[in-house]
Symmetry: C2
Subunit: 313 residues, 2 copies
Amino acid sequence: MFPDKNTIFETAKRIAPYLHRTPVLSSSEINNLTGGELYFKCENFQKAGAFKSRGATNAVFQLTDQELKAGVATHSSGNHAAALALAAKRRGIKAYIVMPENSNKVKVKAVEHYGGIITFCKPTLQAREDTLIQVIEQSGAIEIHPYNDYRIIAGQATAAFELIEDAGNPEIIIAPVGGGGLLSGTALACHYFGKGIRVIAAEPEGADDAFKSFYSGSFVPSVHPQTIADGLRTSLGTLTYPIIKDYVHEIVTVSETKIIEAMRLIWERMKIIVEPSSAVPLAAILENKIDVRGKRCGIIISGGNVDFNELPF
Amino acid sequence: MFPDKNTIFETAKRIAPYLHRTPVLSSSEINNLTGGELYFKCENFQKAGAFKSRGATNAVFQLTDQELKAGVATHSSGNHAAALALAAKRRGIKAYIVMPENSNKVKVKAVEHYGGIITFCKPTLQAREDTLIQVIEQSGAIEIHPYNDYRIIAGQATAAFELIEDAGNPEIIIAPVGGGGLLSGTALACHYFGKGIRVIAAEPEGADDAFKSFYSGSFVPSVHPQTIADGLRTSLGTLTYPIIKDYVHEIVTVSETKIIEAMRLIWERMKIIVEPSSAVPLAAILENKIDVRGKRCGIIISGGNVDFNELPF
Protein backbone atom coordinates (compact mmCIF):
# COMPACT_ATOMS: atom_id res chain seq x y z
CA MET A 1 0.00 0.00 0.00
CA PHE A 2 1.38 3.44 -0.91
CA PRO A 3 2.51 5.89 1.77
CA ASP A 4 -0.26 7.20 4.03
CA LYS A 5 -0.42 10.55 5.79
CA ASN A 6 1.39 9.36 8.86
CA THR A 7 4.16 7.73 6.84
CA ILE A 8 4.94 11.00 5.10
CA PHE A 9 4.83 12.86 8.39
CA GLU A 10 7.24 10.35 9.97
CA THR A 11 9.46 10.53 6.89
CA ALA A 12 9.76 14.31 7.24
CA LYS A 13 10.89 13.84 10.85
CA ARG A 14 13.31 11.03 9.94
CA ILE A 15 15.20 12.91 7.25
CA ALA A 16 15.17 16.41 8.75
CA PRO A 17 18.47 16.07 10.68
CA TYR A 18 20.37 15.23 7.49
CA LEU A 19 18.85 17.66 5.02
CA HIS A 20 18.17 21.34 4.43
CA ARG A 21 14.76 22.85 4.92
CA THR A 22 15.06 24.57 1.56
CA PRO A 23 13.73 28.11 1.18
CA VAL A 24 10.60 29.12 -0.73
CA LEU A 25 11.51 32.07 -2.97
CA SER A 26 9.43 34.52 -4.99
CA SER A 27 10.26 36.98 -7.74
CA SER A 28 8.16 40.09 -8.20
CA GLU A 29 9.39 40.29 -11.79
CA ILE A 30 8.26 36.78 -12.63
CA ASN A 31 4.97 37.42 -10.82
CA ASN A 32 4.42 40.51 -12.96
CA LEU A 33 5.23 38.55 -16.08
CA THR A 34 2.89 35.64 -15.35
CA GLY A 35 0.13 37.44 -13.43
CA GLY A 36 0.32 34.83 -10.68
CA GLU A 37 1.82 34.65 -7.22
CA LEU A 38 4.52 32.00 -7.62
CA TYR A 39 6.26 30.21 -4.76
CA PHE A 40 9.42 28.36 -5.78
CA LYS A 41 10.44 25.51 -3.47
CA CYS A 42 14.18 25.54 -4.02
CA GLU A 43 15.42 21.96 -3.99
CA ASN A 44 18.43 23.13 -5.99
CA PHE A 45 19.71 24.20 -2.55
CA GLN A 46 19.10 20.69 -1.16
CA LYS A 47 22.02 18.45 -0.14
CA ALA A 48 23.66 17.04 -3.28
CA GLY A 49 21.82 19.72 -5.24
CA ALA A 50 18.45 18.04 -5.77
CA PHE A 51 15.25 16.74 -4.13
CA LYS A 52 16.63 13.23 -4.69
CA SER A 53 18.39 13.49 -1.33
CA ARG A 54 15.00 13.31 0.38
CA GLY A 55 14.08 9.86 -0.95
CA ALA A 56 17.60 8.45 -0.79
CA THR A 57 18.06 9.60 2.81
CA ASN A 58 14.69 8.18 3.80
CA ALA A 59 15.47 4.81 2.27
CA VAL A 60 18.97 4.57 3.74
CA PHE A 61 17.98 5.66 7.25
CA GLN A 62 14.94 3.42 7.34
CA LEU A 63 16.83 0.21 6.69
CA THR A 64 18.42 -1.78 9.53
CA ASP A 65 22.16 -2.16 10.07
CA GLN A 66 21.72 -5.81 9.10
CA GLU A 67 20.05 -4.93 5.79
CA LEU A 68 22.69 -2.31 5.07
CA LYS A 69 25.76 -4.28 6.05
CA ALA A 70 26.83 -4.83 2.43
CA GLY A 71 25.88 -1.32 1.33
CA VAL A 72 23.37 0.05 -1.18
CA ALA A 73 23.35 0.00 -4.97
CA THR A 74 21.57 1.68 -7.85
CA HIS A 75 21.94 2.58 -11.49
CA SER A 76 21.58 6.23 -12.26
CA SER A 77 23.18 8.76 -14.55
CA GLY A 78 22.06 11.64 -12.44
CA ASN A 79 21.03 13.17 -9.19
CA HIS A 80 19.84 9.98 -7.47
CA ALA A 81 23.36 8.59 -7.80
CA ALA A 82 24.93 11.50 -5.91
CA ALA A 83 22.08 11.63 -3.39
CA LEU A 84 22.41 7.93 -2.59
CA ALA A 85 26.20 8.17 -2.31
CA LEU A 86 25.86 11.07 0.12
CA ALA A 87 23.16 9.37 2.21
CA ALA A 88 25.28 6.21 2.40
CA LYS A 89 28.30 8.25 3.46
CA ARG A 90 26.25 9.81 6.27
CA ARG A 91 25.14 6.34 7.36
CA GLY A 92 28.71 5.01 7.13
CA ILE A 93 28.02 2.37 4.49
CA LYS A 94 29.11 1.75 0.92
CA ALA A 95 27.20 2.91 -2.16
CA TYR A 96 27.70 1.08 -5.46
CA ILE A 97 26.61 3.20 -8.38
CA VAL A 98 26.26 1.91 -11.94
CA MET A 99 26.58 4.84 -14.36
CA PRO A 100 26.43 4.88 -18.16
CA GLU A 101 29.85 5.71 -19.59
CA ASN A 102 28.47 8.85 -21.29
CA SER A 103 27.23 10.35 -18.01
CA ASN A 104 27.60 14.08 -17.43
CA LYS A 105 31.07 14.61 -15.96
CA VAL A 106 29.79 16.94 -13.27
CA LYS A 107 27.46 14.22 -11.98
CA VAL A 108 30.24 11.60 -12.06
CA LYS A 109 32.47 13.97 -10.08
CA ALA A 110 29.70 14.50 -7.52
CA VAL A 111 29.31 10.74 -6.96
CA GLU A 112 33.07 10.39 -6.55
CA HIS A 113 33.13 13.38 -4.20
CA TYR A 114 30.65 11.63 -1.89
CA GLY A 115 32.65 8.40 -1.99
CA GLY A 116 30.35 6.38 -4.25
CA ILE A 117 31.93 3.33 -5.89
CA ILE A 118 31.23 3.69 -9.59
CA THR A 119 30.94 0.95 -12.20
CA PHE A 120 30.59 2.29 -15.72
CA CYS A 121 28.52 0.52 -18.36
CA LYS A 122 27.24 1.02 -21.91
CA PRO A 123 24.56 3.70 -22.11
CA THR A 124 21.53 1.43 -22.57
CA LEU A 125 18.86 0.47 -20.05
CA GLN A 126 19.71 -3.19 -20.65
CA ALA A 127 23.40 -2.66 -19.88
CA ARG A 128 22.55 -0.62 -16.79
CA GLU A 129 20.26 -3.30 -15.40
CA ASP A 130 22.62 -6.17 -16.28
CA THR A 131 25.57 -4.40 -14.69
CA LEU A 132 23.59 -3.58 -11.56
CA ILE A 133 22.65 -7.24 -11.15
CA GLN A 134 26.34 -8.20 -11.38
CA VAL A 135 27.35 -5.53 -8.89
CA ILE A 136 24.68 -6.68 -6.43
CA GLU A 137 25.69 -10.33 -6.85
CA GLN A 138 29.29 -9.51 -6.10
CA SER A 139 28.73 -7.02 -3.27
CA GLY A 140 25.55 -8.23 -1.64
CA ALA A 141 24.37 -4.60 -1.57
CA ILE A 142 20.67 -3.75 -1.37
CA GLU A 143 19.13 -1.97 -4.36
CA ILE A 144 17.61 1.48 -3.89
CA HIS A 145 15.62 2.28 -7.01
CA PRO A 146 15.52 5.99 -7.99
CA TYR A 147 11.72 6.24 -7.92
CA ASN A 148 9.86 2.95 -8.00
CA ASP A 149 10.02 2.49 -4.23
CA TYR A 150 7.52 3.72 -1.61
CA ARG A 151 10.31 4.89 0.70
CA ILE A 152 11.62 7.06 -2.13
CA ILE A 153 8.12 8.37 -2.94
CA ALA A 154 7.51 9.21 0.74
CA GLY A 155 10.84 11.05 0.85
CA GLN A 156 10.11 13.11 -2.26
CA ALA A 157 6.66 13.94 -0.83
CA THR A 158 8.29 15.98 1.92
CA ALA A 159 9.23 18.77 -0.49
CA ALA A 160 5.56 19.59 -1.16
CA PHE A 161 4.77 19.01 2.52
CA GLU A 162 7.22 21.78 3.44
CA LEU A 163 6.05 23.99 0.57
CA ILE A 164 2.46 23.82 1.83
CA GLU A 165 3.62 24.65 5.37
CA ASP A 166 5.82 27.56 4.31
CA ALA A 167 3.78 29.12 1.50
CA GLY A 168 0.34 28.58 2.96
CA ASN A 169 -2.03 26.45 0.93
CA PRO A 170 -1.50 27.39 -2.74
CA GLU A 171 -4.33 26.83 -5.23
CA ILE A 172 -2.00 25.02 -7.65
CA ILE A 173 1.23 23.06 -7.25
CA ILE A 174 3.27 22.19 -10.34
CA ALA A 175 6.00 19.56 -10.41
CA PRO A 176 8.03 18.19 -13.31
CA VAL A 177 7.60 14.50 -14.14
CA GLY A 178 10.20 11.93 -15.19
CA GLY A 179 9.98 8.59 -13.38
CA GLY A 180 7.23 10.05 -11.22
CA GLY A 181 8.82 9.81 -7.77
CA LEU A 182 8.61 13.55 -7.15
CA LEU A 183 5.21 13.89 -8.82
CA SER A 184 3.54 11.00 -6.99
CA GLY A 185 4.97 12.19 -3.68
CA THR A 186 3.83 15.75 -4.38
CA ALA A 187 0.31 14.55 -5.23
CA LEU A 188 0.09 12.53 -2.02
CA ALA A 189 1.37 15.43 0.10
CA CYS A 190 -1.20 17.76 -1.46
CA HIS A 191 -3.94 15.21 -0.86
CA TYR A 192 -3.04 14.66 2.80
CA PHE A 193 -1.82 18.09 3.87
CA GLY A 194 -3.42 20.54 1.43
CA LYS A 195 -6.94 21.82 0.88
CA GLY A 196 -8.20 21.59 -2.69
CA ILE A 197 -4.76 22.04 -4.25
CA ARG A 198 -4.77 21.34 -7.98
CA VAL A 199 -1.72 19.18 -8.75
CA ILE A 200 -0.38 19.69 -12.25
CA ALA A 201 2.58 17.91 -13.82
CA ALA A 202 4.72 19.51 -16.49
CA GLU A 203 6.58 17.33 -18.96
CA PRO A 204 8.78 18.00 -22.01
CA GLU A 205 7.00 17.36 -25.35
CA GLY A 206 9.95 15.23 -26.39
CA ALA A 207 9.53 12.89 -23.38
CA ASP A 208 5.74 12.85 -23.01
CA ASP A 209 5.25 9.29 -21.79
CA ALA A 210 3.55 10.39 -18.57
CA PHE A 211 1.18 12.64 -20.55
CA LYS A 212 0.28 9.74 -22.84
CA SER A 213 -0.03 7.25 -19.99
CA PHE A 214 -2.23 9.64 -18.01
CA TYR A 215 -4.69 10.48 -20.78
CA SER A 216 -4.79 7.07 -22.50
CA GLY A 217 -5.37 5.33 -19.20
CA SER A 218 -2.70 2.72 -19.86
CA PHE A 219 1.03 2.74 -19.28
CA VAL A 220 3.13 4.08 -22.18
CA PRO A 221 6.92 3.71 -21.79
CA SER A 222 9.44 6.46 -22.59
CA VAL A 223 11.11 5.49 -25.87
CA HIS A 224 13.93 7.62 -27.33
CA PRO A 225 13.15 10.69 -25.23
CA GLN A 226 14.50 13.89 -26.77
CA THR A 227 14.82 16.68 -24.24
CA ILE A 228 17.40 18.88 -22.61
CA ALA A 229 15.70 18.12 -19.29
CA ASP A 230 17.98 15.21 -18.45
CA GLY A 231 16.14 14.37 -15.23
CA LEU A 232 12.88 13.70 -17.09
CA ARG A 233 13.82 11.10 -19.67
CA THR A 234 12.74 8.02 -17.71
CA SER A 235 9.47 6.07 -17.82
CA LEU A 236 6.92 6.04 -15.00
CA GLY A 237 7.17 3.08 -12.63
CA THR A 238 4.69 0.45 -11.57
CA LEU A 239 4.37 2.15 -8.17
CA THR A 240 4.38 5.80 -9.30
CA TYR A 241 1.94 5.47 -12.21
CA PRO A 242 -1.12 4.36 -10.16
CA ILE A 243 -0.66 7.19 -7.66
CA ILE A 244 -0.32 9.71 -10.49
CA LYS A 245 -3.46 8.35 -12.19
CA ASP A 246 -5.47 8.80 -9.00
CA TYR A 247 -4.05 11.95 -7.37
CA VAL A 248 -2.72 14.18 -10.15
CA HIS A 249 -5.28 16.48 -11.77
CA GLU A 250 -3.61 17.39 -15.04
CA ILE A 251 -0.46 16.83 -17.09
CA VAL A 252 0.72 19.38 -19.66
CA THR A 253 3.63 19.26 -22.11
CA VAL A 254 6.03 22.03 -23.05
CA SER A 255 8.43 22.78 -25.88
CA GLU A 256 12.22 22.72 -25.58
CA THR A 257 12.36 26.40 -26.51
CA LYS A 258 10.20 27.37 -23.56
CA ILE A 259 12.18 25.15 -21.17
CA ILE A 260 15.37 26.98 -22.11
CA GLU A 261 13.63 30.37 -21.95
CA ALA A 262 12.22 29.58 -18.49
CA MET A 263 15.59 28.33 -17.25
CA ARG A 264 17.29 31.52 -18.40
CA LEU A 265 14.54 33.63 -16.84
CA ILE A 266 15.06 31.95 -13.46
CA TRP A 267 18.83 32.42 -13.67
CA GLU A 268 18.56 36.07 -14.71
CA ARG A 269 15.77 37.25 -12.47
CA MET A 270 16.13 35.04 -9.41
CA LYS A 271 19.94 34.66 -9.53
CA ILE A 272 19.71 30.98 -8.69
CA ILE A 273 21.15 28.06 -10.60
CA VAL A 274 18.55 25.54 -11.69
CA GLU A 275 18.89 22.64 -14.07
CA PRO A 276 16.68 22.34 -17.17
CA SER A 277 14.24 19.88 -15.50
CA SER A 278 13.53 22.50 -12.83
CA ALA A 279 12.42 25.01 -15.44
CA VAL A 280 9.72 22.81 -16.97
CA PRO A 281 6.85 23.99 -14.67
CA LEU A 282 7.57 27.68 -15.32
CA ALA A 283 7.88 26.88 -19.03
CA ALA A 284 4.33 25.49 -18.91
CA ILE A 285 3.09 28.80 -17.49
CA LEU A 286 5.04 30.87 -20.03
CA GLU A 287 3.64 28.69 -22.83
CA ASN A 288 0.08 29.33 -21.59
CA LYS A 289 -0.49 25.68 -20.76
CA ILE A 290 -1.31 26.58 -17.16
CA ASP A 291 -3.22 29.74 -16.23
CA VAL A 292 -1.95 31.12 -12.92
CA ARG A 293 -3.38 34.64 -13.26
CA GLY A 294 -4.62 35.84 -9.90
CA LYS A 295 -3.68 32.53 -8.29
CA ARG A 296 -1.17 31.38 -5.68
CA CYS A 297 0.93 28.68 -7.28
CA GLY A 298 3.71 26.51 -5.82
CA ILE A 299 6.47 25.22 -8.08
CA ILE A 300 8.97 22.52 -7.18
CA ILE A 301 12.45 23.49 -8.37
CA SER A 302 13.86 19.99 -8.61
CA GLY A 303 17.61 20.57 -8.72
CA GLY A 304 20.58 22.71 -9.65
CA ASN A 305 23.24 20.39 -11.04
CA VAL A 306 24.34 21.93 -14.30
CA ASP A 307 27.44 21.54 -16.44
CA PHE A 308 28.45 25.17 -16.95
CA ASN A 309 30.37 24.20 -20.06
CA GLU A 310 27.20 23.01 -21.76
CA LEU A 311 24.69 25.77 -21.15
CA PRO A 312 21.80 25.91 -23.62
CA PHE A 313 21.95 29.71 -23.80
CA MET B 1 31.11 64.81 8.11
CA PHE B 2 30.69 61.17 7.17
CA PRO B 3 27.61 59.18 8.19
CA ASP B 4 27.24 58.62 11.95
CA LYS B 5 25.58 55.71 13.68
CA ASN B 6 22.15 57.27 13.71
CA THR B 7 22.35 58.18 10.02
CA ILE B 8 22.99 54.57 9.07
CA PHE B 9 20.20 53.42 11.34
CA GLU B 10 17.78 55.93 9.78
CA THR B 11 18.97 54.93 6.31
CA ALA B 12 18.15 51.29 7.00
CA LYS B 13 14.61 52.32 7.98
CA ARG B 14 14.23 54.65 4.98
CA ILE B 15 15.14 52.10 2.33
CA ALA B 16 13.59 48.98 3.87
CA PRO B 17 10.16 49.35 2.20
CA TYR B 18 11.71 49.36 -1.27
CA LEU B 19 14.35 46.66 -0.94
CA HIS B 20 14.86 43.03 -0.02
CA ARG B 21 16.27 42.00 3.32
CA THR B 22 18.64 39.64 1.54
CA PRO B 23 19.37 36.25 3.08
CA VAL B 24 22.62 35.21 4.75
CA LEU B 25 23.62 31.81 3.36
CA SER B 26 26.19 29.23 4.39
CA SER B 27 27.70 26.22 2.69
CA SER B 28 28.95 23.30 4.73
CA GLU B 29 31.14 22.27 1.78
CA ILE B 30 32.83 25.66 1.56
CA ASN B 31 33.19 25.72 5.35
CA ASN B 32 34.94 22.34 5.20
CA LEU B 33 37.19 23.56 2.43
CA THR B 34 38.26 26.78 4.19
CA GLY B 35 38.09 25.68 7.81
CA GLY B 36 36.04 28.75 8.69
CA GLU B 37 32.38 29.45 9.35
CA LEU B 38 31.43 31.66 6.43
CA TYR B 39 28.29 33.81 6.26
CA PHE B 40 27.48 35.10 2.79
CA LYS B 41 25.30 38.23 2.69
CA CYS B 42 23.58 37.69 -0.64
CA GLU B 43 23.20 41.07 -2.32
CA ASN B 44 22.97 39.25 -5.64
CA PHE B 45 19.34 38.74 -4.57
CA GLN B 46 18.90 42.49 -3.97
CA LYS B 47 16.63 44.58 -6.21
CA ALA B 48 18.34 45.18 -9.56
CA GLY B 49 20.73 42.36 -8.62
CA ALA B 50 23.27 44.25 -6.52
CA PHE B 51 23.93 46.15 -3.26
CA LYS B 52 23.95 49.33 -5.38
CA SER B 53 20.17 49.55 -4.90
CA ARG B 54 20.78 50.41 -1.25
CA GLY B 55 22.72 53.60 -1.91
CA ALA B 56 20.70 54.65 -4.94
CA THR B 57 17.42 54.17 -3.09
CA ASN B 58 18.70 56.09 -0.08
CA ALA B 59 19.82 59.03 -2.24
CA VAL B 60 16.64 59.17 -4.29
CA PHE B 61 14.25 58.87 -1.34
CA GLN B 62 16.16 61.40 0.75
CA LEU B 63 15.92 64.21 -1.78
CA THR B 64 12.88 66.51 -1.87
CA ASP B 65 10.33 66.62 -4.69
CA GLN B 66 11.73 70.03 -5.57
CA GLU B 67 15.28 68.70 -5.85
CA LEU B 68 14.10 65.75 -7.90
CA LYS B 69 11.72 67.55 -10.23
CA ALA B 70 14.09 67.27 -13.21
CA GLY B 71 15.19 63.76 -12.38
CA VAL B 72 18.51 62.18 -11.46
CA ALA B 73 21.61 61.48 -13.55
CA THR B 74 24.80 59.47 -13.38
CA HIS B 75 27.43 57.87 -15.52
CA SER B 76 27.91 54.16 -14.95
CA SER B 77 28.56 51.09 -17.03
CA GLY B 78 27.25 48.83 -14.36
CA ASN B 79 25.03 48.07 -11.45
CA HIS B 80 24.66 51.64 -10.14
CA ALA B 81 23.04 52.57 -13.47
CA ALA B 82 20.31 49.93 -13.11
CA ALA B 83 19.90 50.59 -9.39
CA LEU B 84 19.42 54.32 -9.93
CA ALA B 85 16.99 53.75 -12.80
CA LEU B 86 14.92 51.44 -10.61
CA ALA B 87 14.97 53.77 -7.59
CA ALA B 88 13.91 56.68 -9.83
CA LYS B 89 11.10 54.59 -11.28
CA ARG B 90 9.84 53.80 -7.78
CA ARG B 91 9.94 57.50 -6.94
CA GLY B 92 8.22 58.41 -10.22
CA ILE B 93 11.02 60.55 -11.62
CA LYS B 94 13.33 60.36 -14.61
CA ALA B 95 16.83 58.81 -14.54
CA TYR B 96 19.39 59.90 -17.13
CA ILE B 97 22.18 57.38 -17.46
CA VAL B 98 25.39 57.97 -19.39
CA MET B 99 26.86 54.62 -20.43
CA PRO B 100 30.03 53.83 -22.41
CA GLU B 101 29.11 52.41 -25.81
CA ASN B 102 30.95 49.15 -25.03
CA SER B 103 28.88 48.46 -21.91
CA ASN B 104 27.81 44.92 -21.16
CA LYS B 105 24.54 44.32 -23.05
CA VAL B 106 22.88 42.69 -20.07
CA LYS B 107 23.46 45.85 -17.99
CA VAL B 108 22.18 48.10 -20.80
CA LYS B 109 19.06 45.94 -21.04
CA ALA B 110 18.53 46.21 -17.29
CA VAL B 111 18.68 50.02 -17.38
CA GLU B 112 16.21 50.08 -20.27
CA HIS B 113 13.99 47.61 -18.43
CA TYR B 114 13.71 50.01 -15.49
CA GLY B 115 12.96 52.94 -17.79
CA GLY B 116 16.34 54.69 -17.58
CA ILE B 117 17.07 57.22 -20.36
CA ILE B 118 20.44 56.19 -21.76
CA THR B 119 22.99 58.39 -23.52
CA PHE B 120 25.90 56.42 -24.92
CA CYS B 121 29.41 57.85 -25.05
CA LYS B 122 32.99 56.80 -25.88
CA PRO B 123 34.43 54.40 -23.29
CA THR B 124 36.76 56.85 -21.53
CA LEU B 125 36.36 58.55 -18.18
CA GLN B 126 36.74 61.93 -19.90
CA ALA B 127 33.93 61.17 -22.35
CA ARG B 128 31.72 59.89 -19.55
CA GLU B 129 32.18 63.00 -17.45
CA ASP B 130 31.82 65.38 -20.40
CA THR B 131 28.65 63.66 -21.58
CA LEU B 132 27.19 63.66 -18.09
CA ILE B 133 27.77 67.42 -17.82
CA GLN B 134 25.92 67.93 -21.11
CA VAL B 135 23.05 65.69 -20.03
CA ILE B 136 22.71 67.58 -16.73
CA GLU B 137 22.84 70.95 -18.49
CA GLN B 138 20.07 69.93 -20.84
CA SER B 139 17.86 68.11 -18.36
CA GLY B 140 18.47 69.94 -15.09
CA ALA B 141 18.73 66.53 -13.39
CA ILE B 142 20.64 66.14 -10.12
CA GLU B 143 23.76 63.97 -10.17
CA ILE B 144 23.91 60.86 -8.01
CA HIS B 145 27.50 59.65 -7.97
CA PRO B 146 27.99 55.85 -7.73
CA TYR B 147 30.10 56.00 -4.56
CA ASN B 148 31.56 59.40 -3.72
CA ASP B 149 28.46 60.58 -1.87
CA TYR B 150 27.66 60.15 1.84
CA ARG B 151 24.05 59.16 1.09
CA ILE B 152 25.39 56.36 -1.10
CA ILE B 153 27.92 55.28 1.53
CA ALA B 154 25.22 55.24 4.22
CA GLY B 155 23.02 53.13 1.95
CA GLN B 156 25.75 50.59 1.22
CA ALA B 157 26.50 50.40 4.97
CA THR B 158 23.12 48.79 5.56
CA ALA B 159 24.26 45.48 4.01
CA ALA B 160 26.85 44.92 6.77
CA PHE B 161 24.38 46.30 9.34
CA GLU B 162 21.94 43.52 8.39
CA LEU B 163 24.71 40.92 8.19
CA ILE B 164 25.78 41.69 11.77
CA GLU B 165 22.16 41.46 12.93
CA ASP B 166 21.46 38.19 11.13
CA ALA B 167 24.76 36.32 11.54
CA GLY B 168 25.61 37.48 15.04
CA ASN B 169 28.85 39.40 15.39
CA PRO B 170 31.42 37.73 13.12
CA GLU B 171 35.12 38.09 13.92
CA ILE B 172 35.91 39.15 10.35
CA ILE B 173 33.92 40.81 7.57
CA ILE B 174 35.34 40.85 4.04
CA ALA B 175 34.08 43.13 1.27
CA PRO B 176 35.38 43.70 -2.24
CA VAL B 177 36.68 47.18 -3.05
CA GLY B 178 36.29 49.21 -6.25
CA GLY B 179 35.28 52.85 -5.71
CA GLY B 180 34.97 52.11 -2.02
CA GLY B 181 31.29 52.86 -1.43
CA LEU B 182 30.54 49.36 -0.20
CA LEU B 183 33.81 49.05 1.70
CA SER B 184 33.60 52.39 3.51
CA GLY B 185 29.96 51.72 4.42
CA THR B 186 30.84 48.23 5.63
CA ALA B 187 33.68 49.60 7.78
CA LEU B 188 31.40 52.22 9.36
CA ALA B 189 28.66 49.67 10.05
CA CYS B 190 31.18 47.34 11.72
CA HIS B 191 32.53 50.24 13.78
CA TYR B 192 29.09 51.38 14.96
CA PHE B 193 27.17 48.12 15.24
CA GLY B 194 29.83 45.41 15.66
CA LYS B 195 32.18 44.43 18.45
CA GLY B 196 35.83 44.07 17.46
CA ILE B 197 35.05 42.99 13.89
CA ARG B 198 38.16 42.96 11.70
CA VAL B 199 37.24 44.61 8.37
CA ILE B 200 39.26 43.29 5.44
CA ALA B 201 38.99 44.43 1.83
CA ALA B 202 39.76 42.12 -1.07
CA GLU B 203 40.88 43.59 -4.37
CA PRO B 204 42.02 42.12 -7.70
CA GLU B 205 45.81 42.27 -8.24
CA GLY B 206 45.16 43.85 -11.61
CA ALA B 207 43.22 46.75 -10.07
CA ASP B 208 45.10 47.26 -6.82
CA ASP B 209 44.76 51.02 -6.42
CA ALA B 210 43.02 50.74 -3.04
CA PHE B 211 45.77 48.41 -1.78
CA LYS B 212 48.43 50.89 -2.91
CA SER B 213 46.56 53.90 -1.53
CA PHE B 214 45.98 52.18 1.79
CA TYR B 215 49.56 51.07 2.41
CA SER B 216 51.35 54.06 0.87
CA GLY B 217 49.17 56.47 2.83
CA SER B 218 48.44 58.63 -0.18
CA PHE B 219 45.80 58.32 -2.88
CA VAL B 220 46.79 56.25 -5.92
CA PRO B 221 44.32 56.28 -8.85
CA SER B 222 43.23 53.19 -10.80
CA VAL B 223 45.01 53.33 -14.17
CA HIS B 224 44.35 50.71 -16.85
CA PRO B 225 42.83 48.18 -14.45
CA GLN B 226 42.96 44.62 -15.77
CA THR B 227 40.46 42.35 -14.09
CA ILE B 228 37.40 40.27 -14.84
CA ALA B 229 35.79 41.82 -11.75
CA ASP B 230 34.09 44.59 -13.72
CA GLY B 231 32.64 46.24 -10.61
CA LEU B 232 36.09 46.85 -9.13
CA ARG B 233 37.89 48.79 -11.83
CA THR B 234 37.22 52.29 -10.47
CA SER B 235 39.41 54.50 -8.25
CA LEU B 236 38.61 55.33 -4.64
CA GLY B 237 36.85 58.64 -4.10
CA THR B 238 37.68 61.69 -2.02
CA LEU B 239 34.95 60.71 0.45
CA THR B 240 35.50 56.94 0.53
CA TYR B 241 39.30 56.95 0.83
CA PRO B 242 39.53 58.74 4.22
CA ILE B 243 36.94 56.40 5.78
CA ILE B 244 38.78 53.38 4.44
CA LYS B 245 42.10 54.69 5.78
CA ASP B 246 40.65 55.06 9.27
CA TYR B 247 38.19 52.17 9.62
CA VAL B 248 39.45 49.30 7.44
CA HIS B 249 42.02 47.00 9.05
CA GLU B 250 43.61 45.34 6.06
CA ILE B 251 43.51 45.15 2.27
CA VAL B 252 44.63 42.04 0.39
CA THR B 253 44.95 41.39 -3.34
CA VAL B 254 44.02 38.26 -5.27
CA SER B 255 44.87 36.74 -8.65
CA GLU B 256 42.43 36.48 -11.55
CA THR B 257 42.73 32.68 -11.48
CA LYS B 258 41.51 32.53 -7.91
CA ILE B 259 38.65 34.96 -8.60
CA ILE B 260 37.39 32.68 -11.36
CA GLU B 261 37.91 29.58 -9.20
CA ALA B 262 36.02 31.16 -6.30
CA MET B 263 33.20 32.28 -8.58
CA ARG B 264 32.81 28.78 -9.97
CA LEU B 265 32.93 27.30 -6.47
CA ILE B 266 30.06 29.54 -5.35
CA TRP B 267 28.01 28.67 -8.43
CA GLU B 268 28.63 24.92 -8.08
CA ARG B 269 28.31 24.50 -4.34
CA MET B 270 25.85 27.21 -3.36
CA LYS B 271 23.78 27.16 -6.59
CA ILE B 272 23.61 30.94 -6.64
CA ILE B 273 24.62 33.27 -9.44
CA VAL B 274 27.26 35.78 -8.42
CA GLU B 275 29.28 38.11 -10.60
CA PRO B 276 33.10 38.03 -10.56
CA SER B 277 33.40 41.00 -8.15
CA SER B 278 31.39 39.03 -5.59
CA ALA B 279 33.89 36.18 -5.64
CA VAL B 280 36.92 38.31 -4.73
CA PRO B 281 36.58 37.90 -0.91
CA LEU B 282 36.32 34.10 -1.13
CA ALA B 283 39.23 34.13 -3.60
CA ALA B 284 41.33 35.86 -0.93
CA ILE B 285 40.56 33.04 1.50
CA LEU B 286 41.29 30.32 -1.08
CA GLU B 287 44.58 32.04 -1.92
CA ASN B 288 45.58 32.01 1.78
CA LYS B 289 45.60 35.80 1.98
CA ILE B 290 43.07 35.70 4.82
CA ASP B 291 43.09 33.00 7.48
CA VAL B 292 39.55 32.17 8.56
CA ARG B 293 40.29 28.82 10.22
CA GLY B 294 38.16 28.43 13.32
CA LYS B 295 36.64 31.87 12.81
CA ARG B 296 33.21 33.24 12.00
CA CYS B 297 33.55 35.35 8.89
CA GLY B 298 30.99 37.46 7.03
CA ILE B 299 31.35 38.01 3.28
CA ILE B 300 29.45 40.56 1.24
CA ILE B 301 28.32 39.03 -2.04
CA SER B 302 28.03 42.26 -4.01
CA GLY B 303 25.90 41.30 -7.00
CA GLY B 304 24.70 38.73 -9.49
CA ASN B 305 24.53 40.45 -12.85
CA VAL B 306 26.37 38.21 -15.27
CA ASP B 307 26.35 37.86 -19.03
CA PHE B 308 25.81 34.12 -19.43
CA ASN B 309 27.33 34.26 -22.90
CA GLU B 310 30.64 35.42 -21.50
CA LEU B 311 31.33 33.09 -18.60
CA PRO B 312 34.99 32.78 -17.58
CA PHE B 313 34.66 29.02 -17.08
